[in-house]
Amino acid sequence: MMNNENILLEFMNIDKQFPGVKALDDVSMSFRFGEVHALVGENGAGKSTLMKILSGVYQPSGGEIVYKGEKLKLQNPHHAQMQGISIIFQEFSLINTLDVVENVFLNREPKTSFGLFDKKKAAGMTKKLLETIGIDIDITAKIKNLSVIEQQTVEIIKALSIDADIIIMDEPSAALSDKELSKLFDIIMKLKADGKTVIYISHMLEEVFSIADRVTVLKDGRVMATEEVCDLDKDKLVSLMVGREISDIYPPRSANVGDVVLEAGDLASGKLKNVNLTLKKGEILGVAGIAGSGRTALVETLLGIERKMSGTVSLSGREVDFKNIRQAIDSGFCYIPSDRKNQGIIAPESIVVNTTITNLDNYVVRGLINRKAEEEVTKNQIELLGTKVASIDQRIEDLSGGNQQKVLLSRALLMEPEIYIINEPTRGIDVGAKHEIYKIMRDLTSRGKSIIMVSSELPEIIGMSDRILVMNQGEAAGILDQSVKTYTEEEILSLAVGHEYRLPAGGCDDEEEV
């Protein structure tokens, strides 16, 4: 056992009861000084609830928190901050129109003797903090002009400026490119070296293995295990999270890839430079590349969302020129965008409305919607995909990410398209649901449908794609055929960034060095 002096914070038998649900059940775990502690679990496992308790948003229904050897009752988020517990949410809490310094010291501005904002002093302090984590940002830049990683850095600086001992990062990698991710890891290593404790919440198990010292798995509000990362492998972690063995998260590729159904020649638009691609019947074409490399621009140009400036698109040899997405839909395309919340779901509407919106005309008789037909189709889809819902009249926003994605898949399936374009099919979705979505995709290809899958998750790209199109600065940097060999993340990344690339070293190696 660890001796107590190493423990910074301890949860002791924490319960959290919501009306009708026990979100946390007898949760006990501890965090050491200067460790990176990953918290993993499927959606609804209780990670967010636990972190909301730690950041003072919720009060526990039972149990206690011991912090620096004393019992701690957090009254509100401000109180938690004052105690040195800082949380960085997925959606940053920065003011876009203010500059870096103003954001770091928002509401805690150092004052001159006249009582005015002492910007010089604040700037000096900001610079010093940036130095401690070894990052250089233009501190006079407005937040809106910064990249996502720079914004994240500002959040981290902000946490450091109030002398946080615990920094909680909720899905910090969600909006980061791989290059930026390694930068974030560098920062986390610096924080750790300074004795800060970092709680790292992520769906990306690769990240857990890269950065974390220990990992705690939550499932259904209970702690399944806390383990040293070095004592685990990925399969074991996944089975702890899901509660059953998943032999291979990626179902096997189908063998029967057919003729070319879609061909693009010298396709160019605002962000796209002369891209050539083919898509075959029954094939999954993965589109990889770092953020901003033109992955989304490519598919949106194919679909007519973005107007193509030159080049050709042909469907089974027939040239097409889509002026808007409706025309693409009518020609047998469907599109599931990456931003589920803003571009996918109609949040306040029911599952029925969300399922049938794109092919609504099929249920309309003389201008009126045949509600019964609509409900029947929705129920069939729910059964078909195993979507977990309370009722078909439930609002889609109340579903988990995985189930929302299944509803969006249903929406696509109902159009009976030949070509599915899916942008980030499993973003923010837990492992179990991911597996199911992969199975659905495989099932589609075995029925002769073709899929273009844009993804920033390389394991997903490698595990699912028959061929991989790697984008780099608007150009196709290469097409990798996986029927010959399975490519590695390094090989794909090297193409994506245009030079030799090596992934950051795993967390276990670092552990041994310390």
Binding site: R326, I329, A347, P348, V353, V364
Partner: protein, 327 residues
């Protein structure tokens, strides 16, 4: 046993009410208002529940109802129509000056006026969709232009006579029901079906809720929004014609206050500023509540200044407390 069964029936009804388009609070507010009116009548002896007053409220309600229905569509689309005052007033002037006392011209001119209103609405819609002008600015701008044109055309002094047929429509009754109310009920039923049952209603709600998803789902977003403004313009112009029949005179500013009243009625009825929700039932009840309060203030012989205050407060309360902004 029987009692429990009855209780269950009540529960199911309550459950339906909660899930329905109209919040139960709105029904409660309406009920409370009617009780308040009854008490007021009993205590102070104001003549609220009299035939003539009820008919008066009903006619006013119909007029507001036409405009508020149009406004509901526009609000659902994510916009706001401030040009209704100009459209109603213009409809009113057009009716009086073109018909000029000739009964035979009532229906052709009504139709023509509605087309003019629809055209103005279309301009609003085009500005909002194709040019990206914020609805508030677009409709306010259009309304100033329309007001100006009307004042130039009339030279500030409205001409023309309201024909008997139109007066009958505005003030007469059929089987005890005012013509206006009959016409309104027919229109309201049509719009109920449009919003609750038709594919246009669904697309309107989805477009207001999340325009981006609407576009990605292949919905012609601009057409959906323009249609909402077009309908609002048409309904406003129609209301202007009936208003001429009701008051019996042509008035350059007949539409005054219909903008804020129609918005308040729709929002009171559950239409969310920002788009995505709203219903005919809700707007109808919202209009009734608004008019009952106004009517009570008048009957209580509050001085005109106080009436204004009461009404202003009601509207602020409506928008501030019932107004469900988009999340």
């Amino acid at each position: 046993m029987a009692a429990r069964k009855k209780l269950n029936v009540w529960f199911t009804m309550l459950e339906r009410l909660k899930r329905g388009a109209v919040s139960p609070g709105l029904y409660a507010a309406l009920l409370a208002l009617i009780v308040a009116a009854l008490v007021m009548q009993a205590v102070t002896g104001v003549s609220f529940f009299t035939m003539s007053n009820m008919l008066n409220v009903a006619r006013n309600f119909s007029m507001l109802g036409f405009v508020a229905l149009g406004q509901t569509l526009v609000i659902m689309s994510g916009g706001l129509d401030l040009s209704v005052v100009a459209v109603i007033s213009t409809g009113n002037i057009l009716a009086a000056s073109l018909i000029n006392g000739n009964d035979a011209l009532v229906f052709p001119v009504l139709l023509f006026t509605i087309v003019v209103g629809a055209a103005i609405g279309t301009v609003n819609g085009l500005l909002v969709t194709k040019r990206g002008v914020p609805p508030f600015i677009a409709t306010l701008g259009v309304s100033i232009v329309v007001n100006g044109l009307r004042l130039i055309a009339t030279g500030g002094i409205p001409k023309g006579n309201v024909p008997e047929l139109l007066k009958e429509m505005g003030t007469g009754s059929f089987l005890g029901l005012p013509w206006m109310v009959i016409i309104f009920v027919i229109v309201a039923i049509f719009f109920y079906i449009l919003l609750a049952k038709s594919s246009y209603g669904r697309r309107l709600r989805v477009t207001g809720s999340n325009p981006e998803v609407a576009v990605l789902s292949g919905i012609n977003k601009d057409r959906v929004i323009i249609t909402a403004y077009l309908i609002c313009g048409a309904l406003g112009a129609g209301a202007g014609v009936f208003l001429a029949g009701y008051t019996g005179i042509a008035d350059n500013w007949a539409g005054n206050e219909f903008d804020i009243n129609s918005i308040a009625a729709a929002v009171l009825g559950g239409a969310a500023i920002g788009g995505g929700s709203g219903s005919v039932q809700g707007t109808v009840i919202g209009s009734i509540i608004l008019l009952l309060i106004t009517n009570l203030a008048i009957l209580a012989h509050l001085p005109i200044q106080s009436q204004m205050m009461v009404k202003g407060l009601v509207i602020i309360l409506a928008l501030g407390f019932f107004g469900r902004g988009k999340k």
